[in-house]
Amino acid sequence: MTSDLFTYTLRLADDAAILGQRLGEWCGHAPTLEEDIGLANVALDHIGQARNLYSYAGEVEGAGRDEDQLCFLRKEREFGNCLLVEQPNGDFAQTIARQLFFSAFMLPFWRKLTGSRDETLAAIAAKAEKEAAYHLRHSGEWTIRLGDGTAESRARMQDAIDLLWPYTGELFEVDGVVERLVADGIAVDPETIRDEWHATLRRVCDEATLTLPPVGWMQSGGRSGRHSESFGHLLSEMQYMQRAYPGMRW
C-alpha cells in the first residue's frame, strides 16, 4: 500500500520535473522575449509541483531520501514519467502541442485529485489546478493562432499534433498501482476524464482549423522506466550538478 502511494506520487513528480526541465531548455531561446518569460513561468510552475511531490514521495518512502535525491540521483530506468513530457522541444509548435495535450489532461486530473482521501495529494492538487488552468489557456491560445495562422504555422502545428498524438495514450494507462489506489479513493481513474480531455482538444483544434488524429496505436513504456533515446541526455544535463558535487545545496 505504502509502496503504491510512493510509486504513484513519484510518477506525478517525474512528469512535472521532466516537463519543467524540457521547458527550461527554451530559456534564452524562445521566439520572443515575452514568450521566453512565459515558457519559463510554466517551467517553474512544473518544477514547483515536482518539489512538493518529490518531498511527499520521500516522506511516504521513509528511507531518508529528499527531493534532491529523488530527482537528481535516480537512473533513467527508475523514472516513471510518461513519454509525452520527455519528448524534445522540437520547434515551437511541438512544444505547444506537448503542453496542450498534457495540460488538457492535468487540469481535470488535478481537479479530481483535490477530492483524494490523501490530504497531502489533495492539497498539492488544489495549488496545481490553478497553474494547469493557465498552462491550458496559454498553449490553447497559441495552438489556435498557429493553426489558424499562416500556411507555414498551420502546417507545423498540424505536424506537431500528428507527431505527439501517439504519446497521449499513456496518460490514460491504468496498472495495478493506479487500480488499487483508485479503489482506495486516493488516485484518479484517468478514464473518468477522457471525455473532458478529448472535448477540450476538439474545441481548440476546431477553432484552430486543425485535425485531431483518430485514437489509433499508442506509445507506451515510460511508467515502467522504458524511455526515449533522448531521455538519457536530458538526465545527464538535469542531474549534472548533484552528480558532480554530491550533496550540493542552494
Partner: protein, 95 residues
Amino acid sequence: MTEKTTPLWEVFIRSRTGMAHRHCGSVHAADAEMALQAARDVYTRRGEGLSIWVVPSSEIIASDPAQKDELFEPTASKIYRHPTFYEIPEEVGNM
C-alpha cells in the same frame, strides 16, 4: 516577428495596494488576448497584480512635447491651486 504581425501594447497593472491601474511597460503581441497573456507573464511574476489592462500603443494620443510651454507653463504661477496655500483652521482637524 515583425511590428506588423505583433504590434506594441501598453500594459497597465492594478496592484494589491493601489487603487488605480498604473502604466508599467509594454509587450509585443499578435492580438488583445495574447497581449494579456504576455503582460501577465512579464509583469505579474512577483505577485504584483490583481488586474491587467492592455491598450494598443497606437491608440494612445500623446501631447506634443513642443507644446510643453503653452500647456504646462501657465500653471507654474498659480500657487493658490495647491492645498498648502491655505491655512486650515485647527478645528477642521485632518483633511
